[in-house]
Every structure is written in C-alpha cells, then in structure tokens.
Symmetry: C2
Subunit: 293 residues, 2 copies
C-alpha cells in the first residue's frame, strides 16, 4: 500500500491522467521489486471537491495501466479531503508468487554479489529540479538546467510523470537475484535499505558505470552525481546477484529489451563507497529518505 | 479499504487511541458484513507532523483491536499530509471465507424475508449531534439534548468512538442471512443499498420495533426517528433472512449474547415504508449518503 499526496509526492496541478498512472505505477513497482505477478488493486481516493473532468482523466490513466498489467481495480473508497487538504491517493495492490522462496526480498544479498540497476536513472530527479526551479527559480539551478535542451527536459518530465513499472523484469529475476528493491527514494537510500536488511553489509559503486539518463550526462559533475545517487522517482530496480548469474541476467535483459547495468559489488564492510574516475573511493552518506522534514 | 479523514469522518482533537480503534473497527465491520474471518491489515497514515504521544495512543488503540480480532498489522505507509491538510487514516483489511457461497453480500434478499438489526441504533448519531452542538450550539438541539443525562451522553460518546465490530455475528450469519450490510451511513441509507442490490426491492419497517439506544428513547419523536433511521456510525449489522431461519438466528443471538431484533419485512414494491404506531405507512426518502455535499 502506498499513499500519494498532493504537495508532498506530486505537484498541485499535475495532469490527472499522469497522476492516476503514477499512483498505480509506484505500487506495481513494489510488486516488481518482490518478483510478484499483479492480481488486483484497491483505490482509496480523497478529494477536496468533485471535478468530473479531473476524475475522467485520473480514472483513464489509472485504468489504462491496470489493463496493461492485468491488474483490475476491484474496489475502493472515495471521500472528501480534510478541510484545507489536497488530493490524496492510496492504492493497495495484490500480487502472487508460486511460493515463498520465489519472492524477491530486500534481504539476501551476500558479499561478492554484483549490484545491478535496470534502465537509466536521474531523469525523474532532473524533472523535479526543473519544476521546482520554475516555481521558485534559484540562479545556480537555472544555470545548470541551461545545459539541457527543451526536448531533454520534456523527456525527463515524462520519466517523472509516467514511470514504467518493471514488473516483467521482477518476474524474470525470480531465482536469479539474491535481493531486490525499487529505486523510489534514490539509489543510495534504497541500496542502503537492501544492504541493511541483508545483514548490515556495504558496497562499492563504480561511478562511471552508473546508467545515467542522457539529459543528466550533460550536467556538471556534482549535479550529475547528486541526481544519479540521491534522485528518486525513477522506479528502476536495484538488485544483487551472484557473479555466476551474470550470463542468465544478460539473456533476460535481451529478451525483455531492458538495459541491465552492473554498477558495483556488495562488500562485508558496512557503508557505501563511490569509486571515482580518478581512482578515489568516496564514503557516501546514506541517510534514508525522511518522510517528515 | 476505508479512509478516515479528520474534519470529515472524525472531529479534530479526537482521542488518538479511539481513532486508532475506530479506523480499524469500521474496516472489521465491513468484514463482519461479509461474514469474513479477519486475516490481517495494512495501514496508510498521513499526518501533518509527527507527535510521538499521539502516535503512541493511536497505535495502542489500533493494535489492541487488531490483537482482539487476531488481525495483525502486516505493513503500510506513513507520509506527510498535503500542506494545510489534516490526519488521514486508510486501512485495508484482508479476510477469508471457506468458499464464495458462504460470503454474505448486499444482494440476495427476497420478498418476504425478515429484516433484522443487531444491537441498538441511534447512540452514535446522538453523540455526533451533541458534539456539533458543543462546537456551534443550536437552541433547538441544545433543548432536546437536555432530555439526556450526562451519563447517557457519555455512553453515546463511547458508542461513537469505540464501536465494536460484529465479526462473530457475521461469521454466525453464514448460511442463515440472505443479504447483509453494516449500518455506517444510517439504517435507511444502508438498507436501501441492500434492497437496490437485491433487485430494486422495497421494505416496510415497523417503527415501534426499531432497537433504539436507551438515551435516544428519551427524545422527541421526530428526533428519535431521525437518529434511528438516518444516524450513521453505529456499525451494527442489518441483514435479511427467510422467516424459516428465525429460530436459528435467535439461538445464534443467545450464544453470542447479541440482541437481534426483527424490524420489518422485504417487499417486492420498491421504496421503504415506515409503519407508525398510529397505523400509518410513511414513505421514506432514502437518499444514500452523499460523500460530497
């Protein structure tokens, strides 16, 4: 179950179709990270008022994704928001797995396992930065955003608004991955959850291997690093697997037409270290996402 | 899944333990109305800010009820409320039944079936009226509230804040009830849902048989009628059963120490009629609860 709140998880005025899509997508992404087959979903929707046009858009976005993943909406609750409050969308998804041992978990990684990331990361965080800068421009940010073309920013916006849950990949990772998580809060934060749950393990990440979204690659190094490591909302999968599974994983990647990139290795020493192009090893702060700040 | 919103479903400043209890209770009440055995629950909680004392109270109330009904909290999501918004609690409950035909539904009532109500009704609506009158006194309401003792109002407040879901009764009704619903929006509104789903049927209710909460019995006739028929939040069950099941139902009532009262009969003619003490038959308006008004 995941709650999606106006002004916290999405900008006021977000396209309702994108919102309906994304509210379900983030939940399907949790199923993907568990290697679960989607079964059905429930929608609890709180609205300040009823706007049929908004509702039509929202339902259209949600139901199209539900159909695409064969995950029908089987019930829910619709209520008024608390006075002064905004839109809030809580979706519960149900998924299945043939047995407990085929469920992917955050725990299970072992020292020596390879760390993989699907697709590309950083684009959604770039779009968040661009929209925040539109609302309240900051000269520094406006400056580095100038490195991105309008097309690149539009593409980043689509990554933020219309994430594609990696359900098929999650199913393919059953029996291959030793641990798995989806990147919702940023690679560092989510990988650190996985390492903690796997027994306070650590990792080294090779900076040059991080699969950056194209637009992000054009940015100054410090910005690029921040977006790639700390930017959330990409909903790619980060998983670990013994090196012996590398060939099977590459085959799966090809079958599913999903890019899978080995980005580092699990280590017994706690903490995450970033191996930089100049041969350095930077210890990374890995505060998990704070839900209240 | 049910959402419980500050300023909509509960008064700001509600005792957090009562809130935790009630948010789960209304969901367990839905399981009760389905004749389902509670299995587990999920909590999605949105809060404007973190208050450890509030959270302690809330969790205490929720978890005590979860334990009492063997319905463990197995997951959830905690987020900040949208700016300016209040507390919002969305709970998803899971329940089980041995097979589809033992699930109680809103559909299934037939003309001639007896309509039953569990426990007593009207107390929660009385408490709502008393609290609204405390916040914004209305001379008429203040006047009739004067018929109730402080003890009666305190008891009504407990009915509103600490409803007891009729899970055991729901289980006992498997195979006995032809249709079932819980009274969350008021007897008329919920019964009309049941009748509609059973094929646009109607009903006659015998006013003198309505199991009024004691405090409500002391009120003027028009108020009594309004609280009993239109007051929600009692979370008693309203169900229908063939007259042939009357003895079995009375045995179940005795075993469970729950009062069950036959209040009327299902009829083929649509609409709900109230048979009054003076021999009249009043057609009742049965607008269902409006979630936006």
């Amino acid at each position: 179950v995941d709650t999606f709140t106006e002004g916290v998880h999405f900008f006021p005025g977000t396209d309702p179709a994108a919102l309906g899509h994304k509210a379900l997508a983030v939940n399907l992404s949790d199923l993907a990270a568990s290697g679960a087959q989607p079964l059905a979903c429930l929608l609890a929707l709180s609205l300040p008022s009823v706007d049929p046009v908004w509702l039509g858009g929202f339902s259209g976005g949600l139901l199209a994704l539900a159909r695409a993943f064969d995950c029908p909406l089987i019930g829910g609750d619709t209520t008024r928001s608390s006075p002064g409050g905004g839109i809030s969308v809580t979706i519960t998804v149900f998924g299945s797995a043939p047995d407990l041992k085929s469920v992917l978990r955050r725990q299970g990684a072992a020292p020596g396992d390879v760390i993989w990331v699907s697709g590309a990361i950083g684009a959604a965080a770039l779009a968040v930065a661009a929209r925040q800068d539109q609302g309240a421009p900051q000269p520094k940010v406006t400056d580095w955003l100038g490195n991105c073309s309008a097309d690149q920013l539009a593409l980043a916006g689509r990554c933020l608004d219309w994430p594609s849950p990696r359900v098929d990949l999650g199913l393919a990772l059953r029996g291959l991955a030793s641990a798995c998580i989806d990147i919702s809060d940023g690679l560092l934060a989510d990988l650190s959850h996985l390492l903690l749950r796997s027994g306070r393990l650590g990792a080294s990440l090779v900076e040059s291997r991080l699969p950056l979204a194209q637009a992000v690659g054009a940015l100054p190094e410090d910005v690029r690093r921040r977006l790639a490591l700390r930017g959330g909302d990409d909903y790619e999968l980060c998983f670990t697997a013994p090196a012996s599974q590398t060939q099977s994983l590459q085959q799966s990647a090809e079958q599913l037409s999903i890019k899978l990139t080995p980005v580092g290795v699990v280590e017994a020493q706690a903490g995450i270290r970033l191996l930089t192009a100049d041969g350095g090893s930077l210890p990374m702060e890995t505060h998990a996402y704070e839900h209240f700040h």
